[in-house]
Symmetry: C2
Subunit: 156 residues, 2 copies
């Protein structure tokens, strides 16, 4: 926490020097990448939780908790963590962001909102507790994740 | 995502072999640690976002988004990611979990729920949009984070 705050302050200073203006919390490039990787990994954990419930014993509460995490992160305007140049650099590990993220605005304008909509619907369906509906929406949400990965994430 | 799912399956297999039974998604120890570190780091990012709004120009929507992330993660029963032995090992980096986490149940039983309550209140206050109330609750939430760190997290 202390480190994050310190980096944040450094990031704001850096941005001010670079003449960048934004109200968002963006931090330094390495912070942006680490925050992105953490948020995606937290969503991956939540996806794994939902999948375990679909494949095994279904627990409505667990699925709702996991879907709420994905929804909250999906609605966090993570775009602020994609400042120019952040397709290079290391957070927890080297970023896999492709430079196309900064040029193919048309695709980004489709896959970003599609993911947000799928995440909101997932949370709604999860709250309902119908396992079959959750399974169907989980598939759609996975496709929405993939829509962005296919275009903007390098293969490992 | 694919890797997380693969690890999850491996984790379940491992747990089954070890005779451990749980409905939760726990994965292998290294997955647990990486998921924990990711979730805490995502909360740290959200705390930094709230702090930037308190210290700078206040944006109600941003603060609510960040508080919702913290609340959703705080309500995700992360306890499942603290299987025995997970005070040693590496996720993104070496875990800082102290072994006391597994022995001092009395403290854990206080600081865990206190954090959850503070996170829920933070989301409620953030939705209200009163900057002074948000600042006050942000302080309380920080203390709740610290309550656990002081006891169960090694210094860096």
């Amino acid at each position: 926490m202390h480190i994050a705050i310190k980096s944040l302050v450094a990031g704001i200073t850096l941005s001010a020097m670079a003449g960048v203006t934004f109200a968002q919390t963006v931090g330094k490039l390495e912070d942006q990448i680490r925050w992105r990787q953490s948020a995606y990994h937290t969503m991956a954990w939540s996806m794994a939780r939902i999948k375990a419930n679909i494949d095994g014993t279904y627990n409505k509460e667990q699925v709702a908790e996991a879907a709420n995490v994905i929804q909250a992160i999906a609605n966090s305007k993570m775009g602020a963590l994609y400042q120019p140049g952040s397709d290079k650099g290391k957070g927890w590990k080297e970023t896999r962001l492709k430079p196309e993220f900064f040029t193919d605005k048309e695709t980004l304008g489709k896959v970003g909102p599609a993911f947000g909509a799928a995440a909101n619907e997932m949370a709604k369906v999860a709250a309902g507790g119908d396992a079959a509906a959750v399974k169907a929406q989980f598939g759609k949400l996975g496709e929405a994740c993939k829509g962005c990965h296919d275009k903007f994430r390098k293969e490992e």
